[in-house]
Structures are given as structure tokens and as C-alpha cells.
């Protein structure tokens, strides 16, 4: 087993073993759990960096590939690999978990119990990372479900006032989706000319047109439901604000940072390449739902009184742009989607960290109660919130811009097959609405900044003199701030990695 | 002899036993109807043994087995009924509805 083959498995298993180790830390010195979890997450991040460094950027196709039989009888094998599309998200998940480990040195919500919390977090990390490297439908599904359990407990135990409701809603809703997805996977397994769950093989069948159009329509619908609930796309989004409002800060960061991306990644990895004809049929629908999400998310943000719920709804809007990029079925669109995923992960992760700290300092997240003037009471916290909010509204020169503008670019002329099907004008109308969406996004973010950051601070906070950003928080946030500012002027950090593989996958649509 | 006769007799016994099983209020009487059904089964066994007419007399051997098991079952049944009686002081089927939701 050379390093080449075992690298990913090692990186994915480390957090799992870490979770067990953290859980076994004796009750007496519970704080050792925090340092142990931190060491493990740093180790995981270091391994993922090693993979990043060892990755051949220009090359196309799978690297670090390991394909070992798992359940031969059913044709399921442990096929893990990494390519341009999954590498950014894979490394981002390790980064965010490390930052969460740092952040949770002082910030574990009230039932405390760091051992349980941190082991759940590391378990979550295994699920997330595994999802991006799985190249076998069943393995993908296992990691997909594995993620739900720790997140359910995180929200259910360490959450806000009505956490039970939110946790159950999140769990059941996503589970419902994944049931349809599983049925679709099995359907694909049985109708594939040669019975296999291997994604690469299925992609070749898909490209060769082995699946009948009628079948593809139903299989795509199943997968679409599973993924759309996770993304979340427009009508299936109602679990997200509840989950975020109740989730602990670390839970929200990982939920928004990575879990949402598993849905969109699923589209790019499984739905589009394996069922290309159905992808062309569903693309307009996905496009329309995406633009509705953009406009709808922005409008709902205008109505929010809770800062964290506002950020949650903004995620719905941003994921709308990502899905618009995917709906165009063009390499530019998919590049835009992946860039949007990573940028959203970085920015919204930071926003949730900030809202957690605001809750910690001001004991409230209701914008009216915050009363404004945060730039006076806690200037550094205010400045960071301002910077991240402006990055989130898509200011060019910061990370949020490229995801949106490239999606609009792709939407202007979608894939040739979509044009032949006569959807050209529809996608151009969608593009215009997307552009209008950016104004609405700017609107609610600026309005939020005005009510929270600007104006005279209420006397209550001036007397309370909340403590400004501490060293632990700086440690947790510095990488995110650097990434937000760096990804603006240097988008090649991500597009250079994803470009080769995206062009390869998108050839199926005449891209 | 026509095979149909004993079989009809068995069917008759079985149905009457079933009726008794369902309608009787007293647990012991339910057991009695159960006995009837068991008896019907043994008739069937013997009849089918006779139809097959094989050397191994499986029909009759199994009839014996069924009888033995029937006896054991009735023994345990009565023991359970006694236990219920001791807890509920009544053997009326309707009272023993602990399984009600």
C-alpha cells in the first residue's frame, strides 16, 4: 500500500479514530479532550495539505486512487480517489474542522461536555471528507448518511431553545430525500449493462448512452430529490433556517460550510455525468428553482429579525447561484459552482463564527436588541462582520464575486444541447434575474450592517463593555479572513485545480 | 372408503373448534376448543397417512407426535391460566387486555 494509495483512507480514518480517542478521555480531566481533538484536527489538516501538495494540478482524471473489493457479492467496492472537483472541498472540510476545534476551546454551548461534542465533530468530519472522495455509490451513500447522525445530536443537545424540533426536522427531511436517492442508486445498479456501483464505470455508461431516456428521467428525479433537499433548493429549504437558528456555532459553521456542498457536489459528480440526457431535461427546472432561490432568499432575508437566521437565508440565496451555475451544464458554470461552494463555505463559515461570538458577547442575536453601534462597542468584531458581509454580497476583489459572475456568464449561453432544446432565452432571462438578485443581496446585507454596525450604540452595551475579539478567536478566524481576501484577486487558486476535470466531465454536453 | 369422509369430519371439528376459540369468554373453555382443533388435525394426519399408504406409517407416527405436543401445550396453557388468575383474579379474556394500546 504505497502512500499514493493509502493517503486518502488515512486522512479520512484519522478523525474517526480521533473521535473514539476523544470519547475515551477519562471524565476527570475533560479538558484534555479539547487539546486532543485539536491535535487530531491539525493532523487531519496537515494530511490533507500533504495530499493537496502532492496533487498534480494540471492533470486530468483521478489521483490517489484505491479500488479494493468491499462487498464483492453485490459489486460494491471501496473505491476512493480524488480529482480536481473534490480536492478543494476535501481540504476545506479539514480546514473548517481544525478552526472549529480551535474555536471550541472557549465556546461550547451550555451542556458543555466537550468530550461528546468534539468526538461528534470529528465523526462529522469523517463523514464529510468521505463523501467527497467516495467513487462508489454505496460508499457515497454511507458517508452521506453518516453525516446526519452527529449533526442531529449536535443540534439536538447543544442547540438553542427549541432544538428538538429543529434537529428532528433536519434529520427526517434529509433522510426522506436520501431514501429517494437510494432507490435511484439501486435502479441504476440494476439497469446498468454490467451490475456495478462504481461511479467511474457508471459515468462511462452514462456517456455511452446505455440508460434509456425514460429510465433516466425517473432515476434523475430520485437523485434530484435527495440532493435538492440537501443543497437546499428552493421549495425544500425550510429546514435550513430552523437548523441554523438552533444549531451551536460550530454546528452551523460545518453545516453551512460543508454539508450544503455535499448536495451540489452530488449533482456534479453523480447526477450530471451518469444521467446526461435527463440532466438536459431537468436543467431548465433546476435553473428556474435556482433563480427563485436567489430572489426568494434575498427577500426573506429582508424580513429577518435574528442575525443568524438572516445568514441562513443568505445561504439559500448563495446556493441558488451555485445551482444556476450547475443548471447551465457548461464548464464555466460548473467551475463557477465549485468556486461558489468554496467561497460560500469560507465566507458563511466566518459569518456563523461571528454570529456565535456576537451571541456570546451580547447574549442576543436579535438585530433590534443589538441596536447598532457595534463599530463603537467592539470595533474589531464590527470590522470583521462588515468585511465578511461585504464579501458575502459579492464585492469584486473578495471571494464572493467570482461564484456569482461566472454563474451569470455561463447562464448567458448555456450548453449547446440546451440551446438546441430551445432554452436559450429562458437562461438569458434567468441571468438577468440573477443579476437583479445581487442587488437584493446587497440591499439586505447593507441594511443589516446599518442596523448592527452603524449608528450610536445603546447605553446598555456601552456600559456592558463587551470584550472584543480574543486571541482564540483570532486563531480560529485568521485563515478564513486571509482566504476571503486572497480568493478575490487570485481565483486561480481554485479554478486552476478544477478546470481540467470539469472540462472532461462536461464534454458529454457538447461543452 | 372415500378419503373425503374423514377429511370432512376433521374440517367440521376444526371449524367448530375455531368458533369456540373465538367466542368463549372463559380461558379454559378456549383451551378446550383448542383441543378439538388439535384432534381434527390428528384425523387429517392419519387420513393422509392412509392415502399415501407408505410403509413408514408417517401419518400415524406424526399423529402420535401431535398428540404428545398437544398434551404438553395444554399443560403449559393451564399453568398460564392459573398465573393470570392469580394476578387478575378472573380468567375472563376481556380483562386480560394488557396488550391494549
Amino acid at each position: 500500500m504505497t502512500w499514493e494509495e493509502s493517503a486518502i483512507t488515512l486522512t479520512v480514518l484519522l478523525p474517526l479514530l480521533g473521535a473514539v480517542a476523544v470519547a475515551l478521555v477519562p471524565k476527570r480531566n475533560e479538558d484534555y479532550a479539547k487539546t486532543l481533538a485539536l491535535l487530531i484536527s491539525i493532523g487531519g489538516f496537515a494530511l490533507s495539505l500533504a495530499i493537496l501538495v502532492g496533487y498534480d494540478w494540471g492533470a486530468r482524471g483521478l489521483q490517489y486512487q484505491l479500488n479494493v473489493g468491499w462487498i464483492e457479492a453485490a459489486g460494491i467496492n471501496y473505491h476512493v480517489a480524488i480529482d480536481g472537483i473534490s480536492l478543494p472541498l476535501f481540504v476545506l472540510s479539514y480546514l473548517l474542522t481544525m478552526l472549529c476545534a480551535i474555536y471550541s476551546f472557549h465556546h461550547i454551548e451550555e451542556p458543555g461536555r466537550p468530550r461528546a461534542f468534539l468526538s461528534l465533530m470529528l465523526l462529522l468530519q469523517t463523514g464529510m471528507a468521505g463523501c467527497f472522495i467516495a467513487f462508489d455509490l454505496v460508499l457515497f451513500f454511507v458517508f452521506w448518511e453518516l453525516v446526519l447522525v452527529p449533526m442531529y445530536f449536535m443540534i439536538g443537545i447543544w442547540g438553542g431553545p427549541n432544538r428538538q424540533y429543529a434537529a428532528i426536522k433536519f434529520f427526517l427531511y434529509t433522510l426522506l430525500g436520501s431514501v429517494f436517492m437510494l432507490v435511484a442508486f439501486l435502479a441504476i445498479y440494476f439497469t446498468a449493462p454490467e451490475r456495478t456501483f462504481d461511479i467511474v464505470a457508471l459515468q462511462q455508461f452514462g456517456a455511452a448512452g446505455e440508460f434509456a431516456a425514460g429510465f433516466q428521467r425517473w432515476a434523475f428525479l430520485g437523485i434530484f430529490l435527495g440532493l435538492a433537499i440537501k443543497v437546499p433548493m428552493w421549495p425544500f429549504h425550510t429546514w435550513l433556517p430552523d437548523a441554523h437558528t438552533e444549531a451551536p456555532t460550530v454546528g452551523s459553521v460545518l453545516l453551512a460550510g460543508i454539508l450544503l456542498k455535499m448536495g451540489t457536489y452530488g449533482f456534479v459528480r453523480i447526477a450530471l455525468p451518469v444521467l446526461p440526457d435527463a440532466a438536459v431535461e431537468y436543467a431548465p427546472l433546476i435553473g428556474i428553482l435556482a433563480v427563485i432561490a436567489i430572489i426568494y432568499g434575498a427577500l426573506c432575508c429582508l424580513a429577518q429579525s435574528d442575525l443568524k437566521r438572516l445568514i441562513a437565508f443568505s445561504s439559500v440565496g448563495h446556493m441558488g447561484f451555485v445551482m444556476l451555475g450547475i443548471a447551465t451544464l457548461t464548464p464555466i458554470g460548473i467551475n463557477a459552482a465549485i468556486f461558489g461552494m468554496v467561497a460560500h463555505g469560507v465566507i458563511t463559515g466566518m459569518l456563523f463564527f461571528l454570529s456565535g461570538t456576537i451571541k456570546d458577547r451580547y447574549h442576543t442575536r436579535t438585530i433590534a436588541e443589538l441596536g447598532g453601534g457595534m463599530l463603537k462597542t467592539t470595533p474589531r468584531l464590527g470590522f470583521l462582520l462588515g468585511l465578511t458581509a461585504i464579501a458575502s454580497l459579492g464585492l469584486p476583489g473578495l471571494a464572493g464575486f467570482w461564484g456569482e459572475i461566472l454563474a451569470l456568464l455561463a447562464a448567458f449561453n448555456p450548453a449547446p444541447e440546451l440551446v438546441e432544446a430551445g432554452w436559450l432565452t429562458l437562461f438569458r432571462v434567468l441571468m438577468v434575474f440573477g443579476a437583479i438578485g445581487t442587488v437584493l443581496t446587497a440591499g439586505y446585507f447593507l441594511w443589516m450592517m446599518q442596523r448592527v454596525l452603524m449608528g450610536e450604540p445603546p447605553q446598555r452595551w456601552v456600559d456592558a463593555k463587551p470584550q472584543d475579539v480574543g486571541s482564540i478567536e483570532w486563531g480560529a478566524w485568521a485563515p478564513l479572513v486571509v482566504l476571503t481576501v486572497a480568493l478575490g484577486p487570485l481565483p486561480f487558486l481554485i479554478t486552476a485545480v478544477t478546470d481540467a476535470d470539469v472540462n472532461a466531465i462536461m464534454t458529454a454536453f457538447g461543452g | 372408503m372415500e378419503a373425503v369422509y374423514p377429511l370432512t369430519f376433521a374440517a367440521l371439528l376444526f371449524s367448530i373448534g375455531a368458533y369456540g376459540l373465538l367466542s368463549r369468554r372463559n380461558a379454559v373453555l378456549v383451551l378446550m376448543s383448542l383441543e378439538l382443533m388439535l384432534a381434527a388435525v390428528t384425523i387429517n394426519l392419519v387420513t393422509f397417512g392412509a392415502i399415501a399408504g407408505d410403509g413408514l406409517l408417517t401419518g400415524q407416527v406424526f399423529a402420535l407426535f401431535v398428540m404428545a405436543i398437544g398434551a404438553a401445550e395444554i399443560g403449559v396453557g393451564i399453568a398460564i391460566i392459573l398465573l393470570i388468575y392469580r394476578n387478575r383474579a378472573s380468567v375472563n379474556i376481556d380483562d386480560a387486555d394488557l396488550m391494549r394500546y
Binding site: - | M1, F9, A11, L36, G75, I78
Partner: protein, 206 residues
Amino acid sequence: MTVPDVMMLFVTVLGGTAALLVVTSRNVVHSALYLVVALLAVAGAFLTLGAEFVAWAQVLVYVGAVVVLLLFGLMLTRAPIGPMAQGNELGRALPLAVSIALFAVLVTLIFQSFSGTTISLTHVSPAALGEVLYVAFALPFMALGLLLTLALIGAVVIARREEGEGPLPEPDEEPSDAAALREPTPSDVSTVPGRPAPSGEREVSA
């Protein structure tokens, strides 16, 4: 109509009426006795079919042991000797329908598949049966013995009364927990299904 046919007809009629009486008689002890008649009719049937040993075994096991056991059961559970009130009407409609339907189905099936097949009423001597029993079916036979002893021990364990138990509750006064058992029906949808634990020493899990 040969002699065995007549014999079988007679036994069927006898057995049928006896069974009916077992099931419908008011008096508990009467139904026990009718049970004896029914089982004897069954033994008669065996005789006509030539299974002599099985017939006598039937008489010995069922009529001798089982019915007596049932009588003991009746006695121990203080079943009312006299005629007791019959259950409600609804309690009889469903069983009646089911049993009649059952009988009809069985009979049609029997006539469909077995009409015309005749059976040879050769007399099977107990010796032949014994020989088969102890050679081909030796193992099952021993297993049966084991089963019977286990059943015996089980029955004893269940029916034995622990030392600490109080006196046998009188049948007429309502035991304290019985009332508790008749709690309101599950009207409150949201609580987890299951009964509130009754008072008294037994813990009834949901």
C-alpha cells in the same frame, strides 16, 4: 356404503354434535364432558381408519389426561359451576362468520382435490407401528420425550406460588390495580404510546 362408511358417518355425526355442544353449552362442566364424547368419537374414527394404536393413545392421552387437567383448571380458577351469562352478541357474530367460512372453504378444497381418492383401511398392528417408531423415528421420539419433560417442568415453575405472595384475592372484590388498568383510552396523541406505570409491585414497560 360399506360398514366402515357407516361407522365413519356415525362417528362424524356424534363427534360434530358433541363438539357443537362443547362450544355452546352454558354449563362449563357440561362442555368438559361433551369434550370427552367428541374425543371418543375421534378415537372411533381412528379405529375405522385402522390406526388402532393411535386410537387408544388418543383415548388415553386426551380423554384420560387432558380433559381431567381441564376440569382441574376449571376448579382451580373457581369457574362458576352453574350456567353463566353468555358474552355479548357482537362477540359471537365474527367468530360464527369466520368458522362457517372456514368450514366452507375447507370442504370445497377437500372435495376439489380429494374426491374420488379411496383409502385402503388395512389394519395396522401396534407392533408394525412400534417397529417404525423405534427405528426410523427414533431420534424425533427421544426429542419428543425431552420436550414433554421440559413442558412439565415449565408448567410447574409457572404455576408455583412464590412464598412472599399474599393470600389469593377473592374473586368478587375488585383488585386495587385492576382499576388502574382501565385508564382512559389513548386520547392524548402526543405522549409516547404506553400506559402510565400502575401502582403495585409490577413494572409494566410500554
